[in-house]
């Protein structure tokens, strides 16, 4: 079904999961677009699970679809996107999850043929900032990085002292999850959990004391860093995700991020996570190849990066204003309530169109 107006740009956004302690960035990205454009854009939410709350928020998403998990393969993804494109005529797609980016990057040209535009890193750029290669990138860019090692067995944690590793240390998945472990049993358990969720390799990293400072921006693909916004975490959840943070202005963080963008010739959104030690030294922790979940803070601070990204992709003039420092974000949980027909539409058909489903819901009687 095509949207009613041909004048509105249609933007698809993934990452619509909104678990309170670990939300995906997609809903925040969509909120940024609404903040910039109101209802002058059409937003299509794309998720992987029927319980992705963002899919059902009518004031944010005009329509929502389920995608096949990345493990289902690129052919299934392509077929699904082809179907969605026939329904929605998407102009721009903003991927928001690490685990899907490789597939989207490989299918970049195929998507373009469908008429879907993206600004995302290519396969080699994604590979070069992978956690198991980040040390090499950091060294080449002249940035400090905690020693990291690939492990394939939980036995490592019981003999780590032979390799000059000691506790605490951080156990990480290749895409997600990071757990600080204080002894061998904790390490082994973290290893098993992460391997079960994300596969191999599992990484261990030296633990460093300090506080985290993060930067989000857009790389233009030519070595420039656009619209940088920086923040310091003030409070974190049990999973280490920020639920309160404040915007800052840290020239060292910005110059290190620029070094990385130049080294990679990065295209698209990114988040650079660094640790600032008590003696003022910085270490690179991670580069995330998409907007972070706190991106709405950037928009309210005056630098609406998702809107700027869309302008860039659509070859419009994009202005990136310097953000205000001292703007504070505090995340809260809110519920959305849906009726059974809405859930049925998503579970059975993998789609939810806000206006159409309200009509269909009236026809169904589950009493």
């Amino acid at each position: 079904m095509n949207q009613a107006s041909d004048k509105k740009i249609t933007i698809a956004v993934t990452g619509m999961n909104a678990k309170p302690d670990n939300p995906g960035p997609g809903l925040a990205v969509a909120r940024c677009l609404r903040l910039a454009h109101g209802d002058q854009v059409r937003i299509i939410g794309l998720g992987y699970d029927v319980l992705d709350a963002g899919l059902y928020l009518d004031d944010i998403c005009d329509a929502a679809y389920l995608l096949p998990y990345p493990s289902a393969g690129e052919q299934q993804l392509m077929e699904r996107m082809d179907y969605i494109q026939q329904q929605e005529s998407i102009d721009v797609l903003i991927p928001c999850l690490d685990a899907e980016l490789l597939s989207f990057s490989r299918l970049h040209h195929e998507f373009e043929h469908l008429g879907i535009r993206m600004l995302i890193p290519d396969v080699s750029q994604l590979r070069d900032r992978n956690k198991d290669r980040l040390g090499e990138l950091a060294r080449n860019a002249g940035i400090r990085y905690p020693e990291t090692k690939n492990i394939t067995s939980a036995n490592f944690f019981y003999r780590c002292h032979d390799d000059n590793w000691s506790y605490p240390m951080v156990v990480k998945g290749i895409f997600y999850d990071a757990t600080i472990v204080h002894n061998a049993d904790e390490g082994a358990e973290a290893f098993r959990n992460i391997a079960a969720s994300w596969g191999y390799p599992v990484l261990v990293q030296r633990y460093v004391e300090g506080h985290e400072v993060n930067l989000t921006a857009i790389g233009d693909g030519k070595g420039e860093l656009l619209g940088a916004v920086m923040m310091r975490k003030q409070a974190v959840t049990d999973k280490g995700k920020a639920w309160s943070c404040v915007t800052i202005e840290d020239q060292r963080l910005e110059s290190d991020a620029l070094k990385l963008v130049q080294a990679l010739q990065w295209a698209g959104p990114l988040e650079v996570e660094m640790l600032k030690e008590s003696d003022g030294q910085y270490l690179l922790i991670e580069i995330n190849p998409r907007f972070p979940a706190w991106i709405y803070l950037a928009a309210e601070a005056g630098s609406n990066l998702p809107a700027g990204l869309v302008d860039l992709i659509m070859n419009k003039q994009s202005l990136f204003e310097p953000p205000k420092t001292g703007m504070m974000m505090i995340r809260y949980a809110q519920e959305t309530v849906i009726d059974l027909s809405t859930f049925e539409a998503m579970a059975m058909h993998g789609r939810y169109i806000a206006d159409v489903n309200r009509e269909n819901g009236q026809e169904l009687n589950y009493e």
Partner: protein, 263 residues
């Protein structure tokens, strides 16, 4: 027992690591760098040290033991502290050992930190036993003040380090009610602070916020416009009707807290 050649090689390596520490590059040290600096090839280097970590651990222990000997030789009282400072500035390798950024490898870092902690403890004990320290100022604050001053006198990036060094070789940093310009964070740090008369202070670079009382806000506003600590001392004594010694004591303590917050 080392052969003569082995001893020579070890001294070359020691000097090379000292030079790298002197440039504050210990965190980035590699065996190739040590090889280049010392003029000893990689192959020969590894004949004497099985790994980079063994090389660095030996350096830490050697310099750490040297520092310990210096502490043992230090006379009591104020003159002992002055003697120690003079020796440190003459034996630059020990100053580098105390002040440089540590290595990233945790056990090496812990080893280095253990010597530095021991140094701090000994000096703090000596300060506690001195009769001429500022009244009402704890030894924690004074040792912090001293270590910060030593660091500033060493820091290769500090344009005033020669002045700092000269001062420290003759006088302890808290002496004669003098509050030196280097007590507080630099003026560009002070100027970036957002201050409110309510007492709320926000640092836009590190994102930290804290509260200060009326005197603290007064001092911060003053320091945003002037780095003249003497003038601040006089102003506080006048405007808050306190003695200069009380003002000096409070300013020393305040500056110590500020340095912890404003990195």
């Amino acid at each position: 027992m080392k052969t003569k050649i082995a001893q020579t090689r070890w001294k070359q390596v020691l000097r090379a690591i000292d030079e790298i520490a002197g440039k504050d590059q210990l965190a980035f040290i590699t065996t190739q760098r040590v090889s280049r600096q010392s003029g000893i090839s990689d192959g020969v280097l590894f004949r004497h040290f099985s790994t980079k970590e063994v090389m660095l651990a030996t350096w830490v222990e050697t310099r750490g033991d040297q520092l310990r000997l210096l502490l043992d030789a230090m006379p009591a009282g104020r003159s002992g502290l002055i003697y120690l400072l003079q020796q440190l500035f003459q034996q630059k390798v020990l100053l580098n050992f105390l002040c440089c950024q540590p290595m990233d490898t945790p056990y090496l870092r812990q080893l280095l930190d253990s010597y530095r902690l021991q140094f701090n403890r000994v000096i703090q004990t000596r300060i506690e036993l001195m009769s001429s320290t500022p009244i009402g100022v704890t030894s924690d604050v004074l040792i912090d003040h001293l270590m910060q001053s030593i660091y500033r006198a060493w820091n290769p990036d500090n344009p005033e380090r020669d002045w700092q060094k000269e001062h420290l070789m003759n006088q302890l940093p808290w002496e004669k009610n003098e509050i030196k310009d280097n007590t507080f964070p630099s003026q560009d740090i002070m100027q970036r602070l957002a201050l409110n008369d309510s007492g709320f202070v926000f640092d836009p670079v590190n994102g930290k916020s804290f509260t200060a009382n009326e005197t603290g806000i007064y001092a911060l506003r003053f320091l945003q416009h002037s780095s003249d600590s003497e003038a601040l001392l006089v102003a506080i004594a006048r405007d808050f009707e306190v003695s200069q010694s009380d003002a000096a004591r409070d300013i020393t303590e305040f500056s110590s807290q500020l340095r912890k917050f404003l990195q």
